[in-house]
Symmetry: C2
Subunit: 723 residues, 2 copies
């Protein structure tokens, strides 16, 4: 790629971003868009809408930047949660790393690369003249690159250490300041051996009364309720509509056609229609529930009187047979993933294996279609395949768009399906909570991205046949060293085209905005489905970390990529702070358990960088430098090993010191008896709760909705009032 | 190798074994040899020596076989401990496996191999005609071998499963029937953060009183005492002699020359001489001890009131910083390895790394000298190196001895140094008990044996240059398939020459017997150093398992090896039962923790067998069979994974169920208060105990020997009386 193509791309994307941001700063001030741009405030009930129109509303301004910037770390954590804070720390960490890398790269590496004469036959403005490929073979100037690799790795490791330490301390601090929560007192017990003539409930009761008599509090046995869940979800949705309709008594919306989108079909009285359907569902639910009482899964949520008691049950092997009475940390009650409580130890283990194999197969085989389609975007190949288009393809603009944009677009189309796919695989793996599923999917998407974006582009872009070499470990550094620098310009374009636009559109929220307008145009009564969105960590974290990987691997090879990355992380920092404070509602709180993934990934990036640099020095006829990188890799791995021992345990479980201190605090807490009452019912399957109705309905049938879902009804109706 | 060479070897070794066993059955009945052949009974004080001479003593008989055979499993466990039982189960397991393999091999595989015509140009009696190499390429008879591989793997896995289950159940049963032991109530705590103005003792006391108030019992802080240990060991040895001398008052041994072996030099009164030296040492010890009180290591043995309490402290992370307050299971008090309590977490970790690297380096580099020396034993190479010896080397007997014996002898000389070396490396790794050091050394010796006996012989014997191919994973099965069958006759000779003789000489105990005679000849007062020997598991287990590996890998290739192995395991079973009942005293009791190593090693053997078979089928032009072995390997690995989950946790820690039951038993035990008193002092460093003297000595100086060493003095003097 030549400089002008890159500049074209930068220009287009800068323009797009500018338009998005300007539009955002106007649109967010319109009252109708509040559900798009500040749904958190809506669902929290914090917004007062003055309703008056004034001119200031139509002028773009940067007040939102100030508001997103202002909150301190602690304010941010208390507003958005520790997970959101960790997410933001990825940007902070990357900014620190790439500011340093940018300075070193611009002052030392770029001039050396540019003054080299290795690639003499390049067009003058080719981006390759800024890459290490342009340094003469055997030149002693390469020792500057060598030193840069050492210094950079050192700086990254130091930053990683302090970041890990800081987040670990925040995690402990959050634990100390937290209110008593059911999941802190509860463990999930699986593989309960139920004697033939007894129920699971009795077995659990007897076991824990016998072996944890002083700390055992209560338990709820899990039941197989997937069919019921579908029914209850239907009932809940219907009940919400019903409540709303009754609130808006005699509004024209009571009469509606029963066809597509309420536009066609016969007019019916919605209240009667809903009541009838709800009645049918409630009957089904009752039949299912009575049927269900016997369908126990040999698993139970067992609650204890103290956090320490729960930790003891969690960490000690309970039964003589290690496949019985398996304990794991209970998730937050609303975080439990009910549909998949597989029955036995063996089935759970097999489904884990299957998901693992499927995930690997998808990750590896996905490469093939992507590589094929990517290969098409090489101009010469396109020309030979479509000779008729030759004249068009030779136009400068077309060729620049094709080489700069098309590969990225194709990648994006393919990639947009991946996070959902990985979530599906992770949920098959038998995780019991949404947070674990997301964490696992996050790792899967990470490896997927590395393999299918980094390696696929590096290796297929220039030569698919190199894959064979890749299987031979000895050839690995050489193959990478040949292929990676060649793709520098592609990844620069990738950062600009995909990275920049991506965060701008994240701010602009095009799809929710469009949906909101459509919704308002066709009548607002779909608002009852309104829920503030949650941030899909499994999609966003890999995306951001991948830009970090690009920065780390290309720092030595082509430092020209760094300024573009700095812009990305800088703008991303502000925008995601804004989104996390005003748009996304945390669905769960793992208290920073995503950070170890970030840490490991950064270590992986460093090692990958070392491997490439080893290959590069080999190609550049500087074998000594090549060999001397090896100790750096070993030191990095040892550093990682140390961090694993020093910090990782804090992210797995809370230490005795914290648990006991917290338990002692609770002893003076007057609300504990109330909390214990709540604890008894916290882990009842919502699908099996007695169904509650309100108003005149209660007289006719048994209650249908759980207190929890009633809460959400209350929330959503208050949202209606606000919007 | 031709059949006659093997038969020569079999003949020689059978003769040797017969002589050893006959001599043993005579010599063991001589009263003077009791310390060699039944030291356990001597140290247990169970032997009454009638002293009378009768003719029956000079006749060989097999009564010892009956006595070794008779005890049931439970009797054997109560007599020799669970570790010894597990050791014997290796033989039982191998016997089961190779009886099955022997039947299948003799009935199905041997005839097929022998009737093949692939190796037409072989001398008629070559052993290779019994190996798979002789089956014709592409022959459909190879499918019998294929089925044998599947059936054999299945049978081994089933046997492994039931053996693991049986030993796990024995482990739990032993725990239930055990008396309260200090190590069950104690954990070792390392990385104690000592505040600057306080002592480690205070820090431990405060921490456990605060966070484990209801279960904490007592603690002993570890001190840096390596110099003191040397002094105390000297003092103990001297004190033993002194006591003995005083017992034999006015015996001629009181006057002795002070030179070499008491034969040369001036005559001195030994009692005075010893007392003077002991006095000097005691002064040194006191100085060191007073100096030592401040030299605390940030580690302590912390005891709890119940096993459950200790387990809680063991399994839960204690402090906020995971590198502080690290807990691990305390070993039995006499099993503690005092010399190496490295100071900090980091130092311990680094020394672990260093030991790991050193061990790998030694394992890999050891191959070079062995391979070189082994290479020399190939006749043609010897002839070209020593042309003068050509005529001698061409003699049939010489050539047979050289090909049958010399390689094995060379291996043995090299290998005899290895276990001690590995023990040294393991003790550098920072393990805190002899049992852990032995377990770790056992694994090291295992890998060492596989690499330096199996791979070195397979690859260097025929071609050292093949090592290069070995580094390429794709070539691995092919290289092995070419090289392994060629070495079948070598390993047959190895089993016969080394295996058989080895167990016979184990029974005969040549070196202790020789030492005993020398000792008695030069006067018996060296007997005060007498201690019943302990079995060196790290040396014996790898040796026996290696024969198992040979059997598993050669089952398909050359089933002729199986009868020799069966003889080995059969005779070994009886002999080792005898040795464990009458010779070896258990130094520690890990309750069967060696079995997981045996299990993993057997799985490794199976996988290695599969890899070789894949290569063989490839070479034999049966690629379908080659591919179809792959699912078998995967199934084997999954089976192993399952066993790891199902049984391994039982060998790591006892479950809550057992702990609580055992604790409740103790509540009714009237001896518990006495036990708690003992517990307080159980983990005091023997080097730091107040020194105790007895008799007139006590009046002059402070006591010097601990009660434990006094016990051993008492034991050894009672042994004197018996011998």
């Amino acid at each position: 790629m030549i400089l002008s193509a890159l500049l074209t791309s930068v220009g287009i994307n800068l323009g797009l971003c500018f338009i998005f941001v300007t539009l955002y700063s106007i649109l967010r001030k319109q009252p109708g868009n509040i559900v798009v741009y500040a749904p958190r405030l809506v669902s929290g009930g914090k917004l007062q809408d003055d309703g008056e129109f004034n001119l200031e509303r139509l002028l773009p301004n940067a007040g939102w930047v100030r508001r997103a910037w202002e909150p301190s770390d602690d304010e941010f954590i208390s507003a958005a949660g520790l997970d959101a804070f960790v997410f933001i720390r990825i940007f902070v960490f990357s900014l620190k790393v790439f500011t340093f890398a940018g300075i070193v790269g611009t002052i030392f590496l770029l001039p050396i690369n540019y003054t080299g004469t290795q690639l003499r036959d390049l067009p003058n403005k080719s981006l390759d003249s800024f890459s290490i490929s342009n340094v003469n073979n055997g030149s002693h100037r390469l020792w500057i690159h060598f030193c840069a690799a050492y210094v950079f790795t050192g700086v990254v490791c130091i930053l990683l250490y302090f970041e890990y330490k800081y987040i670990a301390s925040k995690r402990i601090a959050c634990f100390y300041s937290s209110k008593p929560e059911p999941h802190q007192f509860t463990v999930l017990v699986r593989g309960i051996p139920v004697p033939p003539e007894r129920t699971c409930k009795d077995a659990v009761e007897q076991f824990f009364m016998e072996y944890h008599p002083s700390t055992y509090h209560s338990h709820s046995v899990v039941r197989r309720s997937s069919k019921l869940q579908i029914l209850t979800t239907d009932a809940e949705r219907l009940y919400k509509r019903l409540t709303q309709l009754k609130n808006k008594d005699n509004s024209p919306q009571r009469q509606r056609r029963d066809g597509f989108l309420g536009l066609f079909g016969h007019k019916v009285d919605m209240l009667d229609h809903y009541e009838k359907t709800l009645g049918d569902i409630a009957d089904n639910v009752r039949i299912e529930q009575s049927f269900m009482a016997g369908k126990e899964v040999p698993a139970a949520f067992v609650s204890f009187k103290s956090r320490f008691g729960a930790a003891i049950a969690l960490h000690l092997q309970e039964g003589v047979n290690p496949t019985h009475w398996i304990t794991e940390q209970a998730p937050q009650p609303h975080d439990v993933y009910w549909p998949f409580f597989s029955v036995t130890f063996i089935r759970r283990w097999i489904s884990k294996m299957v998901a693992y194999v499927a995930c690997n197969a998808i990750t590896i085989l996905f490469l093939i279609p992507v590589a094929l389609v990517q290969g098409l975007t090489h101009l010469d190949q396109l020309e030979s395949m479509f000779p008729a288009l030759r004249s068009i393809l030779r136009l400068a603009v077309v060729s620049q768009v094709i080489t700069g944009y098309l590969p990225i677009l194709i990648l994006q189309v393919f990639l947009s399906f991946v996070p959902a796919l990985m979530i599906m695989l992770s949920s098959l793996q038998g995780y019991i909570s949404w947070s674990q599923i997301q964490k696992s999917a996050c790792t899967k998407v990470l490896w997927f991205t590395i393999w299918n974006i980094f390696f696929a582009n590096v290796l297929s872009g220039s030569a698919l046949y190199r894959l064979n070499y890749l299987l031979e470990p000895k050839e690995f550094p050489r193959v990478l060293a040949e292929a990676v620098p060649v793709q520098a310009s592609f990844f620069m374009a990738y950062v600009v085209a995909f990275g920049w636009t991506n965060i701008a559109s994240e701010l602009f929220q095009l799809i929710p905005l469009f949906y909101n307008y459509v919704n308002r145009f066709f009548g607002g009564d779909c608002d009852d489905d309104f829920e503030a969105p949650t941030i899909p960590y499994h999609k966003e974290v890999p995306r951001i970390l991948f830009f970090g990987l690009l920065g780390v691997t290309y720092f030595i090879l082509a430092p020209l990529i760094l300024p573009f990355l700095l812009v990305y992380f800088c703008v991303g920092y502000i925008i995601y702070r804004n989104q996390l404070l005003y748009v996304y509602v945390p669905k769960f709180e793992t208290r920073g358990e995503f950070w170890p993934t970030v840490h490991n990934y950064t270590i992986f990036s460093l090692i990958l960088m070392h491997i490439i640099v080893i290959g590069i020095f080999g190609l550049k006829k500087l074998p000594i430098a090549s060999g001397l990188i090896l100790p750096l890799s070993i030191a990095t791995l040892l550093f990682n090993e140390y961090c694993q021992k020093r910090f990782f345990p804090i992210f797995q479980a809370y230490p005795v010191e914290c648990l006991i201190k917290k338990d002692r605090q609770d002893q003076n807490n007057p609300n504990m008896s109330e909390f214990y009452d709540k604890l008894t019912k916290a882990y009842n399957d919502p699908a099996l709760m007695p169904i509650k109705y309100s108003g005149r309905f209660r007289s006719r049938r048994t209650p249908l909705l759980s207190s929890e879902s009633q809460n959400s009804v209350r929330e959503s109706s208050s949202q209606d009032n606000l919007v």
